[in-house]
Symmetry: C2
Subunit: 345 residues, 2 copies
């Protein structure tokens, strides 16, 4: 905050508040803002209905949003820039701007995000454990595939597996058979049925003890044709090439470029429609991107996904995703499940 001349951060994101205070809140539309001054005490502004555990944090309660915003504004000296997080909601920001006349507003990018990006050893262990659960469930899901099953049945099975292990997860995953894998974000359908020769792309993840996993594998059911084999192995080479470059100091865009150039050399560049990866931790997507536009360098403790993919709409697709941790020497892959091509019998 000193370096970026930020006087006061206003954090609304529950995972940001959890990171800074240890308090997990689910405010929905209610007021919930942590004010973090450059020096002095943090103050949590929140609706009176929200219960918080005993902690050292000062809480300022409000009966209504308008009252809470006024209390927050009263703590901000005239002319101070409001520095808010990415998802800070207009329902608070707009009345706050009206009350703090003369103040400017900026995004708090870089302050908290840069700190959260580098996981400490305790967090690294949580992330390892979450990744291991995803590995186990992926093996279970691959073992669950059989002819005639629907994508939705596989997705429901994955949910059950995660929940049996005490993890939280979304209600439905990306499970894509055959041509559906031509859409990178296809959501498991109740009507799509597995046939021999189909690719099966599964993008799964869970929250275990507040930390998230994210893992994608693409496998082939019964058999695979030469074109899909070529596509898979291209994506695999791209994945491994990017991974091999990971060490402190490497520009994140160099990882994206390494993967992209391999895919482009095979004439498949138009099918790699997204960035190489994203940061992850207390949220499934944290701020920070492994992409062509990134200006960040890898730093020890960072954890991000490496997930090149190629999608041919109406035909098929493949994505291979692991999470990697930047270590002193290079990297540690948090997912240990095999990623060589697999044909499921």
């Amino acid at each position: 905050m000193r370096r970026q001349k930020v006087q006061r951060l206003l954090i609304s994101d529950p995972t940001g508040i959890l990171y800074l205070t240890g308090i997990l809140l689910n405010p929905m539309e209610r007021l919930c803002v942590l004010a973090v001054p450059q020096t002095g005490e943090c103050v949590l502004h929140l609706d009176k209905i929200m219960e918080i555990p005993q902690s050292g944090i000062t809480a300022v309660r409000s009966n209504q949003l308008a009252q809470g915003v006024a209390q927050l504004a009263a703590q901000i000296p005239n002319g101070t820039a409001l520095c808010v997080d990415d998802g800070f909601p207009a329902r608070v920001l707009v009345p706050l701007l009206n009350l703090c006349k003369g103040g400017s507003v900026c995004l708090a990018e870089g302050c908290l995000d840069a700190v959260r990006a580098c996981k400490d050893p305790w967090e690294q262990q949580r992330m390892r454990e979450a990744a291991q659960v995803a590995d186990t469930v992926m093996e279970q899901a691959i073992g669950f595939l059989r002819e005639g099953i629907t994508e939705r049945q596989v997705s429901d099975f994955i949910c059950r597996c995660f929940r049996e292990k005490g993890c939280h997860c979304s209600n439905v995953f990306i499970v894509a058979f055959g041509a559906n894998a031509g859409d990178p974000h296809h959501v498991a359908s109740e009507t799509a049925v597995l046939h021999p020769g189909d690719c099966v792309m599964m993008d799964i993840g869970c929250e275990k003890a507040q930390y998230w996993s994210d893992l994608t594998r693409t496998v082939y059911y019964k058999n695979v044709d030469a074109a899909q084999q070529h596509l898979y192995n291209t994506v695999l080479r791209a994945n491994c090439a990017a991974e091999a470059l990971v060490r402190p100091g490497v520009p994140l865009r160099a990882l994206d470029a390494a993967a992209r150039s391999i895919i482009e050399k095979e004439g498949l560049g138009a099918g790699f429609t997204h960035r190489l990866g994203h940061f992850i931790g207390l949220a499934g997507h944290e701020n920070g991107s492994v992409s062509e536009e990134s200006n960040q360098l890898a730093r020890e403790g960072m954890i991000f996904s490496i997930e090149p993919g190629v999608y041919l709409p109406g035909k098929y697709g493949a994505r291979i995703e692991d999470l990697v941790l930047v270590t002193t020497q290079g990297f540690e892959r948090l997912n240990t499940i095999d990623k060589t091509m697999r044909i499921v019998q």
Copy 2:
């Protein structure tokens, strides 16, 4: 928009976009804004990675957020007020304000919310169906109670029941035994075990075909003491008194006042810590409040919860919640499950 002199609405909320376009998107941190001019064509600004079905809506695609915000800003005439929805994220609003110099910003409250608040007959039927599922699952959950069961087991059972019926729901519900019901938002715990004499407060809901249900019942396991019986019947009287007033034209705050005065007369007012109800539809909580602060009048087609509760921290509590639809003549209760006191054997 004409009445409120709003030239252009900017909608980021996926349920708002679904309501206006029929397109359901899950943008996460990606750009996704529907620009709705007072006259002329709506335009959907979104990240190039997001797939949308064929529709009459013009989509403007962007590779990165900065580019997308610039494209959005270019469509806004100089000096126009930016009118954004409640949850409009700072990651878009802050750079947009920087690009639209001279423009002011306001919340689009009242425009879309007022339209969404009144459900048309097709929506009313969706809401009835979602409410019926909640009624059925509540009966199943009550039937599932037995000595020694944990709150979490009941919550997991409720999840399974909803999902077996093809509905989406959260991973964990408010299931509160005994003293835990003294916290209105207690989340089902893995350690809290059911004992004879406990109250059981269950607040459940699901999304069925995009529309939400929300239902709370408090029942008693094996037996109930006089104090809890008095508290329950006070809450029930409050619920019924508010419900009986529902008809077009009644101030929503009058409903809150009717319930609150009954609870206050019994000396329990301090335990009724929240508003009487909230709007509901494509989102579990829609904008619009049945509270002391509300300035709205009930209109035909509105659907909201009536959910008085009294919570005595460390002791017990009770809440009774139904959804009601404002009809020409009065109201229709969408939940048909009984709400008289129930002792589960």
